[in-house]
């Protein structure tokens, strides 16, 4: 008998393919789990629509469910339910520890360039806010590049979306 709790535990073991320190559950992309006898339905929403890891994540979820003895059905939901605010507090801490500055909380209005250019972003290495924007874009769509003037370390900032 597959239980919902067992499914969540299994999903919490799947690393994000691009930032393996954080799991899919930490990332907040699992929108719901529904268990009906052996059938396990997972609602999953991508972070960025162009994320190339979508299929990899789907495959990893299916594999975990089969390992539990369930029959997986993963539905990709293309609505507006994901925002970086859904990353869990544990997930944010794991990001910071790995050198990625976690996203700033989303406000009522979308982020503005002037905010990105401000010094409100903290360096994940030394904690200084004496940091500057180097590039709105980065190695993956979800990240920007910043530079810490205090410890002279470039770092990646998770975009707020």
């Amino acid at each position: 008998m597959v239980t919902e709790a067992a499914v969540w535990d299994a999903l919490a073991e799947i690393p994000d393919p691009e930032i393996p320190v954080i799991s899919l559950v930490d990332l907040g992309v699992i929108r719901g789990v529904d268990v009906d006898a052996q059938r396990v339905r997972i609602e999953f929403t991508p972070t960025f629509l162009g994320c190339p890891a979508l299929e990899v994540m789907k495959g990893a979820m299916e594999e975990q469910i089969r390992a539990l003895g369930g029959e997986p059905e993963v539905d990709v939901v293309l609505d507006d339910s994901w925002s970086t605010d859904r990353i869990t507090p544990e997930g944010r801490e794991k990001l910071r520890a790995a050198g990625f500055a976690p996203p700033a909380p989303r406000e009522a209005a979308p982020p503005k360039l002037i905010q990105l250019q401000s010094q409100a972003f903290r360096c994940p290495y030394c904690g200084s806010t004496d940091t500057k924007l180097e590039n709105i874009f980065g190695p993956t769509p979800c990240r920007s590049l910043r530079y810490c003037t205090s410890c002279r370390q470039p770092f990646e900032q998770f975009k707020t979306i």
Binding site: N135, G138, P141
Partner: protein, 215 residues
Amino acid sequence: MSERATQLLQIADDELILGWRDSEWTGIAPNLEEDVAFSSIAQNEIGHARALYELAARDLGTTADELAFDRAPHEYRCAGIVEHRFADDWARTIARHWLYEAADAVRLEALKASDDTEVAGLAAKIDREEVYHRMHADMWEERLRDEPRFKEAVEELWPQALALLPEDKRATLAQRLNVPSNSLLLSGREERSDDFASLWEEMTIVRRSIPGAVW
């Protein structure tokens, strides 16, 4: 074809073809930061195209890949502005980028307010990402706005940017761009250019090499 599928396909085609053009800067942009930026923007646009094609594909009983790559050139419905090959011409690339993002913002605002919750939800998700494209485009427009080559490029391209939108939205865009909303200069979505023909050849060449293969 339903009005919804027609509209989804037009927008998806715009995003796919522009994403393709943006990706041509990968490796040859004027500096590394722009290489990174245009590669990311291209990836986002193609991601948006994929999601829009998926929604359309459900209505049409087909798949996103078939819509993206298995149509004949004359079946695509992108606006002419996204077809031009501008790689090696930074002024025109930025002019198009700035005009396109402005038009796309008007389009997304309307879609987000749509009664169709699937379309509205997807538009809202797309818009979260487009915020960063607009920042990037506005940053460059501010930097280049007094440069003669950039001004010429904007002059040349704005009428084509209006063609990205349905007629009732063009006045809004013209007002934001501070240009006359002259629809006489418009090209539509029916005609394909020579630039499109060569793009299509390249974009579909691998897929056409083994029809029906599972990749």
